[in-house]
Symmetry: C2
Subunit: 342 residues, 2 copies
């Protein structure tokens, strides 16, 4: 790899240990002076990863001041907000403050942005001691600076939507973009979405429709979700089954689909997804609860000739596509809005 | 799902608990009387999964008689050989004994076969008490019967190759078949194989070449493997790097490839594989040590627009293709033969 490719990943900001990627680093250089291919963000708010916040709060016995002190100390010592116990970070919101002349991100000074890469690899300096945060929520008002590398992802927050809505949509924007791509490439007609009434599920159904699919099935866990999904109009057919019960999924889906998208965040959905998919079809796993070996061995054990994709959270244009689906499809809004704590 | 589809998966052989797939069952019905879509195998040998054998041997303090008794009792009580502690099984070798008139597997009575689906889902009855086994190896001479369902996989053992060679090749036959399919579909020219000197790696290199790839790079861990892979002629270029060090992999590979195939059986190869792959390219993960979340989050964190596939052990025709590559490519033989305990 050339030096510029390493720079693009932020390797030049790694202080220790040398030779690792920023996510694996113990300490990053968070100097606010930017290189020619970097972008500086004036930080407004951190959204801590839920697991990270819970661990910090529990280890501090719920003492908000102690939690605040712990976060400040982590950022000072590591140059990034990565919980040393959970390993997780979160994301941040801010305003573009400076753009290096060689940055490929297309950002302009003054734009409000959310980072779509993790805080675990983002150089961060806090300048206000998090004084406006009571330590009692993972939403952290903050002042300071963060650095984006050439290979980072930041989405401009639109002015026509509440930030809470934009963040909820951007949080899952990889799913609809990847679903659309798979449906287009395979010229798929039938699509099943496990967890079709959730954020990523509803966006994936809308994306599949926009990409040309004509037989959309949404599988949900109970009648309440089924009623909401039916009312949304996003699916042609709504079925109820436990996604972790392979035979129940297969029975509910009936004729296997060209493409199955897994958006349920529970372990054990792999075999049902395989059975829901026709020979020669494709399964896209978006759930972080997916087990690699369960998927691989399950398909082999059932002699299932299916292509299985690890859902990549990044597809070019994913943020804009997801926000556009939210704006243009009322059924998406109907399912996502109740989940937004605006 | 219709009754016939459930039958094809062997659900009718599940005794307890009801409504699960055979792999998840506590007990299967191993009755040697076959249904119209089933095949009966006269068992000759069991190959226990290495992890299962180790656990049994350790729990019995290395007492071979106790290990034998334990395996006999597991098969009697469960109707299959699935270690209750490790959950794993193994495979078996036998002779086709009876073929139901509606079996789609294409087998004929008298053929010697190896099952390519796991013992964890194969109804099995032992009739000799494993009397010829000393309990000191995972290779178990056995007499009894096993049942194949409509959706099972069994490979006919060729007469021109030693069984040990056939089993070594069949053990990894999913990798070359899937590699060939990805290379063909993407019309890929450049392919990198991490772990190119191993069984699945060498077959994948040969399959990529046969599928039209013209720039083959094999990445190996040390100079001894590099010398062996160079001598085999399977790769156009051989590089040495630690597959778990992403920047080392990227530096060794140089220009990213259209397709990267991961055949190293160690955790932590996900990020290196992503960096070795060009934007728009494909990574195929064959290592069971692959972490789903490391792959998904790694690609997102590096803004890498790569398609990531869960290596499916089953592709139609995979067994015949792998055996043909072994027969026709001397470099494959040169790398696999030393690994076969013939």
């Amino acid at each position: 790899m050339q030096g510029s490719a390493e720079r693009a990943l932020g390797v030049h900001r790694v202080v220790a240990p040398s030779g690792v990627l920023p996510r694996a680093a113990l300490r990053l250089d968070a100097d606010p002076a930017i290189g020619p291919d970097e972008v500086r963000i004036a930080v407004r708010r951190l959204n801590l990863d839920a697991a990270s916040y819970r661990q910090l709060s529990e280890s501090c016995g719920g003492d908000g001041d102690a939690v605040r002190t712990a976060v400040v100390e982590i950022v000072e010592s590591r140059g990034k907000m990565q919980n040393p116990v959970t390993g997780s970070g979160g994301m941040l919101i801010g305003v573009v403050d400076a753009v290096g002349p060689e940055s490929p991100l297309g950002l302009e000074v003054g734009q409000r942005v959310a980072t779509l890469v993790s805080l675990t690899l983002t150089p961060l300096r806090i300048t206000d001691g998090l004084a406006r945060w009571d330590g009692r929520s993972e939403q952290v008002p903050a002042q300071g600076t963060a650095i984006l590398f050439a290979r980072s992802i930041a989405a401009v927050l639109p002015d026509d939507l509440p930030d809470a809505v934009s963040l909820a949509v951007l949080d899952v924007c990889g799913a609809p973009a990847a679903t659309a791509r798979v449906v287009e490439r395979a010229a798929a007609r039938s699509v099943v979405v496990l967890g079709g009434a959730g954020k990523s599920g509803s966006l994936s159904l809308a994306a599949a429709r926009a990409a040309g699919a004509t037989e959309l099935t949404g599988l949900v866990r109970d009648e309440a979700e089924a009623a909401a999904l039916r009312a949304s109009g996003l699916a042609d057919r709504v079925v109820v089954a436990d996604a972790t019960d392979p035979l129940a999924v297969a029975a509910a889906v009936g004729t296997p689909a060209d493409v199955t998208v897994v958006c349920v965040d529970v372990p054990g959905a792999e075999h049902g997804a395989v059975l829901a998919t026709a020979d020669g079809g494709t399964v896209v796993f978006f759930s972080m609860a997916t087990s690699f070996s369960a998927a691989a061995l399950g398909a082999e054990g059932m002699a299932a000739d299916v292509t299985m994709l690890v859902g990549n959270g990044y597809t070019p244009g994913h943020a804009a596509m997801a926000l556009d689906l939210y704006r243009s499809v009322s059924g998406v809004r109907a399912l996502i809005d109740p989940r937004v704590h605006a």
